[in-house]
Symmetry: D2
Subunit: 365 residues, 4 copies
């Protein structure tokens, strides 16, 4: 089912931008896991719009309500369903989308697939708003991980138009402390000094009635070696099938990523060694912590490319699906000029969910 | 299950490099599909080693035998299982792998996961040899697609060390004829003139006891608009969960891929227009034919980065898992210095399988 | 996932007897299906307690609220999630269940499985109350079926202690009109005259601080021949995997059911014939409309045996899980002396859901 | 997929009565499990035809060949695929089945579903011969179970026409020794004295050009309490979805089965008590070892009703699908007059497979 993911730790996301509520049903939670409500809200807040000067001015409460699966704040082992009421809906803004599909958006393909019955209001089930329940599920997963020594964090590596240095994670020396810091930030970056420059690039795009893409890198620390399965059950496959469900992702790579295409074996191979504690490690980590689909115990690192949000207010060419003619479109409504900082939160959530699934698949949950 | 893929058109791959046989069980084949045996063998031959001067000198017959699912060359609708006997096995070459894991290979992670019970001979279930049944299943899928107007082809875009121009597909004007040509080649490239240069780079790596990574681009033409599902059932998700099952893939991108991270909305958005025949198209195709996870009817294009094969014969650092010490390793045996040309065939196979699944999911098979 | 069912039409049930709300998420609904709200409520009312003189005196509003998936009463093709708030909770009644497990109930096995973290209030996720979202999903499915000429109905065949005649469906001549009548009744029986006798048997059990089991027969009319798949995807398998999810079901049979064990081939085989309209039918229908797992076009008929509800107020032997001793238990609280009439509604719902899945699997939805 | 079963321990069965080979691919086997080949063959022999005087005279070698997944007789953790060549095929016997469908068989429904492309030879993929790979997989599972203290056995309770006493398992006092004895017999019965009478009833059916149905009861001993999941993942659901995949099963019940419909709560409830060793047990076992879908630690017991094999040689009414007329049919070829003794072996196999899945689901494998 396309809005569900996972075999052992399964999330099912429902709702649309303007439905009464959105939410997520989580199956496969082990019993006896206390959930810290403040930490859940903190993660929800990071994703919520209006938190960062660069994001949209819409204000969404994003207050989750847990319907079941918790008793006195502790998981019961039964499905946990949480919903978020949609309170701030301006449906009129979107009335033309069925006729004039926005370039770069799912309007046209949804129209073909659903024959006009799809909910177009605010993008419907394709809306970036659906990352709210994803982030909720990720925040639940994160608490399970923390109890098992696993840390997850992401940072914005690039914003289109920002000319500063691209500073990736240190794939070998990456510390849990850095990930913990990043996972508390609204616009997570390794070097806080670049944040202002990135915000500047976003602001520039907004001023130009435009939007900006970007690159986010994410890491999982503390996963034991041996998680994941061969072939189609590899850590890469599982993460990919989840991450491409975040709107706007058009590329995903692990470790050295696309650079491997330009490397020789002697450069790319990560030599094993035994550290002083007798632990097996690799001196480099081009593999991004995954060999043959299975975790090596080194930092698991991946990067996702996010396209610029397609909703820009400058005039664009499109077609009139009713008239059957070419047409011009000017998108109105409030839209983020750059969803990348909030997408980083969604990417972390996906990483948390995938990590729990990997642990569960290996009987380590 | 990690060695199986697909919900409606399901492949289950079994075997290892040195088991008695390898094979694939295909479920979900519609009844009444004639399969052309020569075409199946032609695809198998493209992947088989020893076909191109740059590949390994091992000769594997790769002669598939269909056990069931076909009657007089036509599918019955029951599962089709095909096996390939492993005839040319030199098990002695691999005796040290359990003790001295090869850098960049699954030897170490498999050892951790399977506690030493894994079949290490030739890489066991992690061997690139397992792409043979994948290619068989892809060749079956390709014939279903051809009958429905869908064409699949891939080309080698980059080989590590090759300095020539990187020429991608024309994402808008791509023709079925080009894909058909490519899907018949042993070392598929858009411009045959570059093949020699790429072979030179591979030969150079071999001479240096090294190996070379590379980049392959793949396209699917003729998929109708409306295939794929939102969120985790998107065309990208499904393709990704399959493609990362091909050994050595470390990155995957759709359309403009990682370049979207550096683009503005006005650049990346593909404007819609209506062509003379009244068909809705886009003037550019940065989306790679997928919007919101659903096909737009434009060419579906993706690229996969393959790391250099980790088995190189120069000395490398590793650990001795039995002695618990650091160690040196010199990999012996016959290994491709570059698996990229053969990986292109596997990537096409994955594209064919994913395309059939997309059609089946949408009730179009 | 254990609280989800279906591959193409998937229901995920969440909640417990005393959680804030219970509900169901439905995935795989085709777009463009209008849902009649009154009909949905009518089915919910049939299952709700307090409707029949023989049922518990608890009053549950059972008012569903659709959070998403509908737009102006028509399905959008996105997941439809509906919840029912739990308003009438008396948690104190159940305080002893963790210590003194009720014989015949899941108290003990849940305690072992969930280590004491399970929600014991009112049976938690094991409560018969969870048939409310099942009935909701079934009522949705029923409307899809009606539009495709498929009718579903069930009747109470036996109540423990009732001595009257056991009158099953006519497996050949069964009419849609009868099923339609039954599917509107609170205590569905073929011959209304027996209802009073059955109620008497139930009342007798109640007076004796006891409970009564029963047998329900269910039929699906109008499913075309050819639905279902061989082996584990047969119509029987799919129905069984769903029906055993209804609490208290201990047996399930199709067509002549357990009587086939005492039949000879010449008796059991249903001879084919061609009727005047050229339709292929069978003169008898011991097969219950299923041959080789695939529907034959004859009425699909199955029966489910429901055990007496285990919550009886007379004293019973049990163990004290905390003290580690044998103990006596007297169950308090309000309990149905017989859930069979309401279970018939749940069984119909399961049949509706299974029928939609069968149609979807065969591309007929 | 309809010919596959299981989430954690997955079997995929392929082939047909007259294809080149049949087989099973087993995924999810833990690594490091030694498999005793003689024990595997012993189980295969129990199911093979021609072993008992009452079965068909066909002789099938049923010699399995393991293609992969084993190394020196020990599982590697990779998929284990085993095939059985079909050597003794007389295809001519079945030529008329496409035109004149056999009453009670899948000929007609398969014709509708597969549009005439199905393999009709010997019943194709619907053939009882497909229980051979099921029994192979079950025999593998049985060895895993034995190592974990779990025993499985079945016995023939009824044969149509046999008038002797119906003696079920003692649901409380059932011993592993009895199950072990039964699981080694060709025609397993609790009291060897009844075997001759049952054989007589079968012989009588054969003499009358007829066939006989029967009832088989199966038990699993040694499963710990706490296996299985609520709702649709219950032990009953899982077993049912597998057992209805054995040809001819028309009914399935657990514990007291359909008798619960005639019981009062005070009769049906199994009182808990603590035995001398401090173990929690029930004094009766009407629940068949399952409460709320979860094992209680008591013997898990179920019964399956098998219809008489539909292939009888006396003249029957059918239709001529080509001529579109009513017709007469006389089935030729060699057919068992009663498949029940061999079906008992298949039922045991299903129980073994389901038990391994239950353990795997609970992380106990």
């Amino acid at each position: 089912m396309s809005s569900s993911w996972g075999e052992r730790f399964r999330i099912s996301i429902f709702g649309g931008s303007h439905t009464e509520a959105i939410g997520v049903n989580i199956e496969g939670l082990p019993p006896g896991e206390p959930l810290d409500w403040e930490q859940l809200l903190a993660q929800m807040a990071r994703r919520a719009p209006g938190q960062d000067p660069t994001s949209t001015t819409r204000k969404e409460a994003d207050q989750p309500r847990v319907l079941c699966g918790l008793l006195d704040g502790v998981t019961t082992g039964a499905p946990l369903c949480a919903i978020i009421e949609n309170t701030n809906q301006r449906s009129k803004d979107y009335s033309q989308l069925k006729t004039l599909p926005r370039p770069g958006h799912a309007d046209y393909t949804a129209q073909v697939k659903y024959g006009g019955y799809q909910d177009v209001r605010g993008g419907g089930h394709f809306s970036g708003r659906l990352t709210a329940p994803l982030v909720f599920a990720g925040a639940v997963a994160r608490q399970l991980l923390a109890r098992r020594g696993v840390t997850v964090g992401a940072h914005v590596r690039k914003i289109a138009g920002y000319k500063g240095e691209d500073r990736p994670f240190d794939p070998v020396g990456l510390s849990p402390a850095l990930l913990e810091r990043l996972s508390g930030e609204y616009f997570p970056v390794i070097d806080p000094a670049v944040r202002q420059g990135m915000r500047g690039a976003i602001e520039e795009a907004r001023m130009a009635q435009n939007s900006a893409g970007g690159l986010v890198e994410c890491a999982i620390l503390g996963l034991p070696a041996g998680m994941g399965d061969p072939m189609f059950g590899g850590a890469e496959n599982r993460i990919a099938s989840l991450v491409f469900g975040i709107p706007a992702v058009k590329g995903l790579s692990f470790g050295a990523g696309f650079r491997v295409a330009e490397m020789l074996g002697s450069e790319n191979n990560d030599p094993f060694y035994m550290d002083e504690a007798g632990q097996i490690k690799t001196r480099t980590n081009h593999a991004g912590g995954i060999l043959g689909g299975i975790t090596s115990g080194m930092p698991l690192i991946f990067s996702a490319a996010f396209k610029p949000t397609p909703s820009i207010s400058r005039e664009q060419d499109t077609v009139d699906l009713q008239a059957g003619t070419n047409a011009k479109l000017r998108v109105t409504g409030r839209h983020d000029p750059c969803i990348v900082p909030r997408a980083a939160v969604a990417l972390e959530a996906a990483a948390c969910i995938a990590a729990v699934e990997l642990l569960a698949q290996s009987g380590k949950l």
